[in-house]
Subunit: 343 residues, 2 copies
DNA sequence: AACGACACCGCAAACGTTTGCGGTAATTTT
DNA sequence: AAAATTACCGCAAACGTTTGCGGTGTCGTT
């Protein structure tokens, strides 16, 4: 059954008319007589004619396809973003080509080139951690391809951007802990050369200052993975008697910290309240359920795609760039109810 | 800077030669003189010429693009599969267009049509739950598009298939519990009209029979989400004194069960050993870390893509289909060490 | 009877490539 | 010196569409 799909030429040949007439008949062009239209349309229907998107794209230089370049797909945040992009794209008639760089600069360069070669109408990109050269991004502009950066933006390239407000998210979470009565809060921080590490820590300290609480450097511990928590467990336990709250840079770190504390006789949230920063669906699984700020990956994806469409379809000035900031939302659960017992 | 990318025609015009010569010079055709080759190649290099993939595809009817149709992207298993597909695809020079059906039959139909319209070289699909009509799959065969089903396969369509062996996975997990000394094991089961529910339950009972253990229907409880566990908490607690093990149809159910038991004074795994079935990275987060069987999404994706390439590149007979079965692997952690204390 | 108006349709070029074939000039062979 | 070979290059068609323009035929109008 391996037959080539039927073309306008085929229809023209079979019906004994010209391809131009078929083409026009199919789109109700006034130059075509009602009979011919009827003939062509019913026949096309019968043989299930579908226009060749490649030919259309080549002629119109419009592919109705966009490219997504992303460090990792297996990551709750990024897959949420993709999902948001996909849904908007689908609604507007766009397809999405997805490229995963695996945090590899070389692959990022090659992926972008492939997308340009395929004449995508626009590109959404979240930079690899190992990208420190930006000419491949500049080339996009020279090729006239609209780009929107999200999450891992490129500060050296002026373009549309959609980001999560890590500073504000951390600030909100910390203020929440303070509101629950915490006076001495520990922060489990990510490396400060990473933007999220820096911004979330600054959001934390900002909230402390705002409430005139001392920010003790001893309370800031560098650990941002489950394993790191176990490695620094002694440090945490040593300080545990002094503190009444923990704000962790991500959920798995927060959860690990809760477990370390629980194994050492502390009760969460009775003795120590805990809040995390959303990196997935773990928060609900934890015991007790973890209060955390949720980064709205789906919304970010939707917003990025909408901005991109704005540029593609020319409803936005070319050199007029926008930065959309999404403030994470606090999801209050049990882990932060200082003083409360959990059954 | 919105300039169209340079074409072979442009080069020909600028250099005062014909497009054919440029084309041949670029691919070292013997008919072209060394000087002209040199001229063309260095010039093409200078202006950063890149062939238009659309034009190439149209002419060769080969797009080097494959389509992926998937129910949900935000799901650890599926995003792992995509990642596996992506990595193989990248290595073989293919791009991937991803379509998310959101378990919607209509969208599945439309997505498939769009992929065919774009002349993808092949399609990887995992069916929506709400698909009970299969003509859209049959149409693919008529259009000569190779298809490989993975995970949610379509039994009515003969094709390549890549699946996880749910029966065997459940059997392995149950046998593991039995090996740890469990005699009376509870099963938290998914609805039996779903394949995974049916297969995993049967794997469970098969292991019991093999070891001549009674399979008590009272021990099979229908609940497959965290919420369902809490809803049926009373039933579980009532039976808890009798049992010494639990095999849950997925990890979040297993974890919820552990928490319910712990809150009622039971110690895991001292009193009751627990095993789950892998649906994500939750198992490590749990307390105690959960013994579970891991479905190898990444491997499944790789295998599916390799099978598809086999058909696309014609190294496999057209009507010769293969079914690849991936047996999940037990990952032994603390939750199943019956009788042991956790610190 | 001649003219304009209108309805309907096809030619050909274009999008960017590749490639069979033919053509010209230079070189080698007799 | 004529013929045969070789080296090199361009024409044109093709992939499947769309679209400006021109062409034919049938009217109706003076």
């Amino acid at each position: 059954m391996k037959s080539q799909p039927i073309t306008i030429k085929d229809i023209a040949r079979i019906l004994g008319i010209s391809p131009s007439t078929v083409s026009r008949a199919l789109k109700d062009h006034p130059d075509i007589s009602p009979k011919t239209k009827q003939l062509v349309q019913t026949f096309a229907e019968k043989v299930n004619y579908r226009p060749n998107a490649l030919a259309l794209s080549l002629r119109s230089s419009k592919t109705n396809t966009i490219g997504i370049v992303i460090p990792e797909i297996v990551h709750h945040f990024f897959s949420s973003v993709i999902s948001g992009i996909e849904d908007v794209a689908y609604g507007r008639g766009y397809n999405a080509i997805i490229c995963q760089t695996n945090e590899n600069y070389q692959r990022e360069v090659i992926d972008l080139q492939a997308l340009v070669d395929n004449r995508v109408d626009g590109i959404l990109v979240s930079m690899s951690k190992n990208t420190h050269e930006f000419t491949h991004f500049e080339n996009l502009r020279e090729n006239g391809v609209p780009v929107v950066f999200f999450d891992r933006i490129c500060e050296q390239i002026s373009s549309d951007r959609v980001i999560a407000d890590d500073f504000e998210g951390a600030r909100i979470a910390t203020k929440h802990l303070i509101g629950k009565g915490c006076k001495k809060i520990m922060h489990l921080a990510a490396p400060q050369h990473l933007l999220i590490g820096k911004n979330r820590k600054e959001g934390f300290t900002s909230a402390l200052k705002e409430h005139k609480l001392v920010s003790d450097d001893r309370y800031i511990i560098k650990c941002d993975t489950r394993e790191a928590v176990f490695a620094k467990a002694d440090d945490i336990i040593r300080l545990a008697p002094e503190i009444d709250g923990i704000f962790a840079v991500n959920d798995s770190t927060a959860i690990a910290a809760m477990q370390v504390l629980q194994r050492n006789g502390y009760s969460i949230p009775k003795d120590i309240a805990v809040a995390g920063f959303g990196d997935g669906p773990n928060a609900n699984i934890a015991y007790p359920p973890l209060t955390t700020v949720e980064q709205k990956g789906y919304d970010i994806g939707q917003a990025a795609m909408r901005l991109l469409i704005g540029h593609i379809e020319g409803t936005v000035e070319d050199e007029e760039f926008e930065t959309k900031i999404f403030t994470p939302e606090l999801v209050e659960r049990t882990s932060s109810q200082l003083g409360h017992n959990v059954r």
